[in-house]
Each structure stands twice: as structure tokens, then as C-alpha cells.
Amino acid sequence: MAKVRGTLVIDKERCKGCGVCLGACPFKVIELNREVNGKGYNYLYAAHPDLCTGCAGCALVCPDSCITVYRERTEQ
């Protein structure tokens, strides 16, 4: 059966670490990093990239447009 897998590309310097996207992710793929970016914010990173289905909920609610989601169809 065909399965869709997502890949996240996060612009860590744009991210302000607001965390609004965390609640939008149904699979808890993303987390805020303990390290900070150039502006001093705990930026977003994909902690569990294998769980991503490419729903793009995080990208929709991101106020600073720092998340790009690619979808890939894989056979399983």
C-alpha cells in the first residue's frame, strides 16, 4: 500500500520559538531545541522525522513561515 512520508525543512534562523506549531502536530514529530539560534530563541527541529506524514499542519500555523514540508510517496 502506498504510504506518504513527509520531510521537514526548517529555517532555524527565522524561527522565533513560539511553539504554536507543537500543538498542531498530531504525531509529536517536532520539538523546540535546547540550543538557541542567532536571535536567542530555542528554535524548532524535527526530533522524530520518521513519524512525519507530511500533513503540513505545523507549516499552516507557523506565523513566520519557517517550515517547508515535502511529501514523498513510498511503497510498503
Partner: protein, 231 residues
């Protein structure tokens, strides 16, 4: 959208609404035909982020400027982008009369219940009991009056063809909001009258909450008073 960093605080709803407006204008292919009117408030710098023509109006006067721009350029798509301190307070008169005349513009109204740019003071839309910089004991109806439902008031007028209230705090709400914006812009180009799109938004800095807590607070307190439209 221009590839620049926004000045908004982390988690501000303005960023998401800007993105939706830019996407809808792009999908309609109206980049060179859209004219926006920016207000006074946090959204004043929208002209730095969305690559279309803009006019910056005096405080509250965006609807009056938009009326002139649309009447002189009827083939352009004209919209205003205003906050609640701009539209519901100092600009209430201009907005109501633009709506009553039924000018073919879109009014995008971002309601976060405080004056965000100046530090979270009480606005006409502040909820009863809500603590702000100028109502540290909470808003009291006897002293400060009642919260102002600008959307309901304007939706009663005959010149208004479309009124909707949306939010952008969940992916589903963002998708609905985008459809509403598209419908409003289409109405404006078809000459149906004034379209009024209200956004219930957060101001985490003004409310002194984290962005995630602000979204939760909005869900629990703002939504019962400012109920969202179904579509």
C-alpha cells in the same frame, strides 16, 4: 511575501494572516492589481512584507482611504487591514459609513482585544474582567462600558455582502480562514459590496502570556464571546 524577517512578537497571529492574504492574492494572480491600506498599529509595517501597492492611512481612516482608492481605480482589488484599536475605536465612524455605502472593498479586521503596539492597554473590544495595562483590576462594565462587537454591528448594514469571523490558531481554522478570504476578495471584484472578515487573534505580549497559553486563553475566553463563523 517578501523574504524578510517580520517584526512581530513570537506567535503573533498577524504573521499567519499576512501569509494567508499573500497566498490568496497570489492564487488570484492579482499581485499587480491589489492595493492594501495599512492601519496604525502593529500591522502598519505590512508594506514591508507583502509585495503589492500599499497606502498608509491615518489612525482609523483606512476605510475612508480605501473608498477613495476603489472609486478612482474600480478595476483594482482594494482591501484594508486593521486592528481593533484602529477599526473599532478611533475608526468606528469611517468603518460603519463605508459599510453603509457598500463600497466594493474588503475589510480585514484583526481583533485581539487590546492595543498591542502601545503595550496592551484596554481597547473597546476588551472582554469584561480582562486585565490589561490600563485595567489592572479587570474591565468593569460600570466604569468602562461593555465589549464592542464591531462585526455583528456592521453585518446588520445593507451595504455589507459578506461577514465572517475566523481565527488562525489551528490548521483547520487556517484552512477555513483562507477560504473566507478568497470569498471576500472575489466578492469585491464582482462588485457585490463590502466584505468584512474578522479574525479573533492573540496578542501574547499584550496579554502577558506565552504564545501557546495565549492560544488556549483565546479558545476559552474569546471564542464564547466572539463565536467563529461556520464557514
Amino acid at each position: 511575501m517578501l523574504d524578510v524577517l517580520m517584526h512581530f512578537c513570537p506567535g503573533c497571529s498577524h504573521g499567519t494572516i499576512h501569509k494567508l492574504i499573500a497566498e490568496v492574492i497570489d492564487e488570484m494572480g492579482m499581485e499587480s492589481n491589489a492595493i492594501g491600506i495599512t492601519p496604525v498599529g502593529c500591522a502598519v509595517l505590512a508594506y514591508n512584507y507583502i509585495d503589492i501597492d500599499w497606502v498608509q492611512a491615518a489612525h482609523g481612516r483606512a476605510c475612508a482611504v480605501a473608498t477613495a482608492v476603489k472609486r478612482l481605480n474600480p478595476e483594482k482589488m482594494v482591501f484594508t487591514y486593521q486592528g481593533d484599536g484602529d477599526l473599532a475605536a478611533i475608526g468606528a465612524g469611517e468603518t460603519i459609513h463605508a459599510a453603509n455605502r457598500g463600497d466594493n472593498i474588503v475589510v480585514i479586521y484583526v481583533n485581539n482585544a487590546v492595543y498591542g503596539m502601545t503595550g496592551g492597554q484596554m481597547a473597546p473590544t476588551t472582554l469584561l474582567g480582562m486585565k490589561t495595562a490600563t485595567t489592572p483590576q479587570g474591565r468593569d462594565a460600570k466604569l468602562h462600558g461593555f465589549p464592542f462587537k464591531a462585526g455583528e454591528l456592521i453585518s446588520q448594514l445593507d451595504g455589507v455582502c459578506y461577514f465572517t469571523r475566523q481565527s488562525v490558531h489551528t490548521p483547520a481554522a487556517v484552512r477555513r480562514a483562507k477560504k473566507a478570504l478568497r470569498r471576500a476578495f472575489d466578492n469585491s471584484m464582482e462588485g457585490k459590496g463590502l466584505s468584512f472578515v474578522e479574525f479573533v487573534a492573540t496578542c501574547s505580549s499584550g496579554w502577558k502570556l506565552s504564545p501557546v497559553e495565549a492560544n488556549r486563553w483565546m479558545d476559552e475566553n474569546m471564542m464564547p464571546f466572539y463565536p467563529l463563523s461556520k464557514e
